[in-house]
């Protein structure tokens, strides 16, 4: 209801230096490339925002999207499960040079920590990671004889996500497996910006088919025919 419809540049203006930003997507599926590039445009023009902490499953590939943000020096820290890929040079170079921080989180724990933030659960227990270096220093407690690690919620100042259809209340649907982290990030961020392929009037989405209710969305940007990050990478595009 209190969701507003904005141009790309305005939508990303809420992100400040040192912000924690969740970015949806898994590979190119669900990556809000237009929102990310609008943020990069702003950085190129003004030097801001910088020192960002980015939460995503990966750490960017090629020279577009999150990889371009990293290469341009906008990112202080990545929180992700899988920063390695065949073409993740931007992150690898910065990481091996000690110029970017990494918080590595098992993928299911990452998803659950984000959901927990959205659901008001400050901490939970999971066996995932027990006995590994990713659980070092964490509280361990046994349940039914199984040792579990205590994990904390993961919040963000802003989430940039990609959806398919939105109504003007911010209700969202997603296309195929592009759903992945988006519904969770919408819940966990203080301010959620969704780029959508199509904006419809209230009533245009069957209430039973809404995946993200509008209460989790603060701003919607209509981007018809959005670019697919995977294709940009394969075409060798460079947004740095």
């Amino acid at each position: 209801m209190n969701c507003t419809t904005l141009p790309l540049a305005d939508a990303v203006s809420v992100i400040e230096d040192n912000s924690v930003v969740m970015i949806s997507g898994f590979g190119g599926s669900g990556t809000p490339i237009e929102l990310i590039h609008a943020l990069i445009d702003r950085f190129k023009a003004s030097g801001s925002p910088n020192n960002l902490t980015i939460i995503n499953n990966n750490a960017g590939t090629g020279k577009v999207g999150i990889a371009a943000m990293i290469k341009l020096g906008m990112v202080k820290k990545m929180i992700c499960s899988f920063p390695r890929s065949s073409d993740a040079h931007a992150f690898s170079e910065k990481y091996l040079a000690g110029e970017i921080e990494l918080e590595l989180v098992p993928q299911g724990t990452l998803a659950e920590r984000i959901r927990a933030a959205g659901a008001g659960i400050p901490a939970f227990f999971t066996p995932a990671g027990f006995g590994t270096e990713l659980a070092e220093g964490k509280t361990v407690q046994e349940f039914d004889g199984k040792p579990c690690v205590m994990e904390h919620w993961l919040k963000a100042d802003v989430a940039l996500i990609k959806a398919d259809i939105a109504d003007s209340h911010g209700n969202l649907t997603y296309r195929l497996a592009a759903r992945n982290f988006s519904p969770l990030m919408c819940m966990a961020a203080h301010h959620t910006v969704a780029q959508v392929s199509q904006l419809v009037n209230p009533g245009g989405i069957n209430p039973e088919h809404v995946v993200t209710p509008g209460i989790f969305v603060e701003a919607v940007v209509e981007v018809p025919n959005p670019k697919q990050e995977e294709l940009l990478i394969r075409a060798g595009e460079d947004y740095t």
């Binding site: 209801m1 209190n2 959901r115 933030a117 008001g120 209340h169 209700n171 209430p207 509008g214």
Partner: protein, 233 residues
């Protein structure tokens, strides 16, 4: 004398619908709101013109509208009070864990609940009056720790004339330090820094009279406004 007798009190105090009307005036355009079963539900009727408010119900609906005409009920579409509802355009349906993610994750702007007692430290007692009978809690304990603001709407005194605004609750608690505003049949009271701060009172009631009907000290900051509500049915 500053003590008001019960007969006079009955004549001047606001009705439940008038308290609901007063509470409705404070709900902002665009707000997401959960209204407790019973008197709080009345608030939706008095939503000021021009404001869009989205109502949430615990059983998994956001954006529900008025009750359907009698005989047109669809009993798969009800609210937390098990009353038949309708869907507004832009409504969304979700399961119970997602519904309480909205509640407990701090996404609702306001929850309004009834009360047996509210303490000056913001404690609420509204789910049972003692250890007898069948206890039932529903979603109240979740709502009080989840919504951005939690208000209470209540008669200022109980049916047997006892203060409901108290120093410490004697009935079993629903939540600790969770209430920030109380709309009563006589006054509007904020809870700030563990004190009751009087914001509005009925014009026909002196401060001393109101204090005598309140179980804890009423503090005053700046001016106390006049509590007015139009006559309703």
């Amino acid at each position: 004398m500053s003590i008001i007798n019960p007969e006079n009190l009955k004549q001047i105090k606001l009705t439940n619908t008038q308290i609901a009307w007063r509470a409705a005036q404070d709900i902002q355009d665009g707000a997401y709101v959960n209204l407790g079963i019973g008197i709080p539900e009345l608030i939706a009727r008095y939503q000021p013109q021009g404001r869009q408010v989205t109502y949430h119900t615990e059983n998994g609906v956001l954006g529900f509208g008025e009750a359907p005409a009698e005989g047109r009920e669809d009993w798969d579409l009800i609210n937390a009070g098990k009353k038949a509802i309708t869907l507004n355009n832009g409504a969304a349906i979700f399961h119970h864990a997602d519904s309480f993610a909205m509640v407990r994750g701090g996404h609702l702007d306001l929850a309004v609940l009834g009360a047996y007692q509210v303490s000056q430290t913001g404690d609420l007692a509204n789910w049972r009056v003692g250890s007898k009978g069948v206890p039932a809690v529903g979603g109240a304990m979740d709502l009080v720790h989840g919504a951005k603001a939690v208000a209470v709407i209540t008669d200022h005194v109980s049916k047997d004339g006892k203060p409901k605004l108290v120093e410490q609750c004697t009935f079993p608690l629903t939540g600790v330090g969770c209430i920030t505003r109380v709309y009563t049949s006589l006054a509007v009271v904020d809870i700030q820094h563990q004190k009751f701060v009087l914001r509005e009172k009925l014009p026909d009631l002196s401060f001393e009279q109101l204090q005598s009907l309140t179980g804890a000290t009423l503090h005053v900051e700046n001016e106390v406004a006049t509590l007015n509500a139009p006559p309703i049915d």
